[in-house]
Symmetry: C4
Subunit: 231 residues, 4 copies
Amino acid sequence: MNLPRRALAEFLGTALLVAIVVGSGIMAQTLSPGNIGLQLLENSTATVFGLGVLIAVLGPISGAHFNPVVSLADWWHGRRDASGLPPKNVAIYIVAQVAGGIGGSILANAMFAKPAVSWATTDRSAPHLWIGEIVATAGLIVVIFCLVRAGRAAYAPVVVASYIGAAYWFTSSTSFANPAVTIGRIFSDSFAGIAPSSVPGFLAAQLVGGIVGLLLVAGLMGQTPATQQPP
Amino acid sequence: MNLPRRALAEFLGTALLVAIVVGSGIMAQTLSPGNIGLQLLENSTATVFGLGVLIAVLGPISGAHFNPVVSLADWWHGRRDASGLPPKNVAIYIVAQVAGGIGGSILANAMFAKPAVSWATTDRSAPHLWIGEIVATAGLIVVIFCLVRAGRAAYAPVVVASYIGAAYWFTSSTSFANPAVTIGRIFSDSFAGIAPSSVPGFLAAQLVGGIVGLLLVAGLMGQTPATQQPP
Amino acid sequence: MNLPRRALAEFLGTALLVAIVVGSGIMAQTLSPGNIGLQLLENSTATVFGLGVLIAVLGPISGAHFNPVVSLADWWHGRRDASGLPPKNVAIYIVAQVAGGIGGSILANAMFAKPAVSWATTDRSAPHLWIGEIVATAGLIVVIFCLVRAGRAAYAPVVVASYIGAAYWFTSSTSFANPAVTIGRIFSDSFAGIAPSSVPGFLAAQLVGGIVGLLLVAGLMGQTPATQQPP
Amino acid sequence: MNLPRRALAEFLGTALLVAIVVGSGIMAQTLSPGNIGLQLLENSTATVFGLGVLIAVLGPISGAHFNPVVSLADWWHGRRDASGLPPKNVAIYIVAQVAGGIGGSILANAMFAKPAVSWATTDRSAPHLWIGEIVATAGLIVVIFCLVRAGRAAYAPVVVASYIGAAYWFTSSTSFANPAVTIGRIFSDSFAGIAPSSVPGFLAAQLVGGIVGLLLVAGLMGQTPATQQPP
């Protein structure tokens, strides 16, 4: 696949992922007022379905990262045998992902007749939430790269979506686990939003989680062999 | 497969799809009064299961379109290499689908001891709902034709059903995304109904969404090669 | 597989199916008092998961019918080319299924500290419920035999379980669709129970549904070829 | 795979399984106060997703037992043809699993800003709950070893996770079915906790269930052939 199409897939995939998270959050908040547990169940169910679809549909084009931590980890994990993304492509992917994340929030706002941009006000700054994000992101990296290393990347749509379905509930942060999505969620003051002041802590925790995840992959699967074929 | 059997499959599939949407809507409204969020969760869960089954079971017979926009897009997308539906078959499919959509509503009414036909009164006319329908239908076309182009049409039962499961929640219109289903939902004044006066706006938005979807498919996958094999 | 093992699989599978339906019904009733919609969602979700597992695990042994209508339809559908169950085996299967259905109710009662047998008192006698059962059973037969005819029987665990997940909600009867399960559900006076006086109507509707289903299969797929290989 | 990596996979898998069960239990309790049915639905949904992911990701490394009863049954079931775990590995697996179970509870407590350890106070001592655990564990063993014997072990992530999704609801004990998880759930006084005094009864019932399960496998599939290949 050529690079512009791959960048389009990353832009579109991240935009739709954020539109799904934010849009279903607005719908849940509107239809289940006062019942936050049910709202999160509606929000997480929609996200599981939507994320699985996006990976199944766009995976053959761009690999369906939709996530700067995944793109960075892909470069790092495959640096020895050149099976990963080259650094230039990592940069292009990240730009497309962040732009998509912001665009997705604006699209969700438009679909629900809200101002194109409203700054989120949900404060998510607390050490236990950062622990949650570290666990969520480390788990995501373990899931993706253990699948790849075991030759099971074809299962990624179901497995990664299911992982997020669990992580929404078992991590205290509801598992953002994605810097582009985190930035996108600044732009809608609704159920899934995050106040700008809480973003740096989340981004830092996600990067730490990415590193922890790569260490666990190495512990579980051993170092990448230099002769490994790209998946 | 011969054409009468394919038309029967399109009729039966669309009828059962509408019976599932309308019937589970009536059940949800009856069992969860006053809790619209839970009603939509029950309605969308039943639809995901049912739609996936219909595609898995009837796909080998007719392709399991159940949707005039999909049949039109199939003709357009495959017009260069004659891999799509010929125009005559498109017309037969659409007649079968619309008849099925109406029949499905009547069947749901009969199963729940309601008058065979009651005109829906739910007003769904608003620009932000039309944006929702454009997004919902464009997404559906991207999902189907990117799968087909990537040789992954066998995953359609799970992926298309999951897409609708997400779109129920992340689009403001709850994702009708289907003219035959939209027309069918006129005929039952219940949870899933749509007032006749709101139908033209939805149909127009669905057609626009279909075109947007085909443009996105071309952007993501390139033009159809003239030598492509039909899937 | 030898016949005693197949009969054991049919007995055990039907028993566990009824234990799942009745047991999760009791759990739902206990934990979500007054919220019938949520009870049915809990009940149907547990049944989807459990039924899929039973078909996946016991299918290789007995074919995982767990349902006299399915065993009868299997004999009828395969009578021309001897690919179906022989009549003697149909009789053995049905005995095992009905015994299993009763045993499953007793097991559920034991797990929830209820009397071993309590006669259900839920009246389910009404013409619109019988229409629901006809639709539910016809749909089940269409699903199973269209899959078999299309060489897709390996998908049965997911597709049949999903079908029941939809039919719980879109049919007015909540889709018993199974005489052995219907008889079993007499033996526990709880959420999933059915009063003995309502059983004959349900059984008759299920037989009618089975015949309608076989007619639809013939319409969709044509008559069974005499040379067809058993699946 | 070498033994240290396998032990790490068993430790990590059991830890994350308990973190999922306990963490999503705390989240459910916090967001859906007073609605125990909805709490259990949230808890069971997260567990289904998470358990399936853990088996898919770690199965190729260690077999993804995460459960002393499964490791013991694996040794017993494969003792004739040496296809099972050797006794030394069983011991190492069990130590890793129990340590993981405890670690997972502590991790969940940390993510939700609770004391690292708080002794659970939920009393779960009653004969009908022990019947539930026997059924739950016997069912788990039947599921796993019938899949293995039928050459369908590749379906284990979906089938085993689905089984637990049903067993959460149809057994009165909510299906612990795992001594390592049972011990881990002592360490967090929250929704999924179990008082230490209730643990011996649960462990005994799980061992009985394991034996019942192996007997049923032998009845359904026959004795293990001495020449069978390891799966």
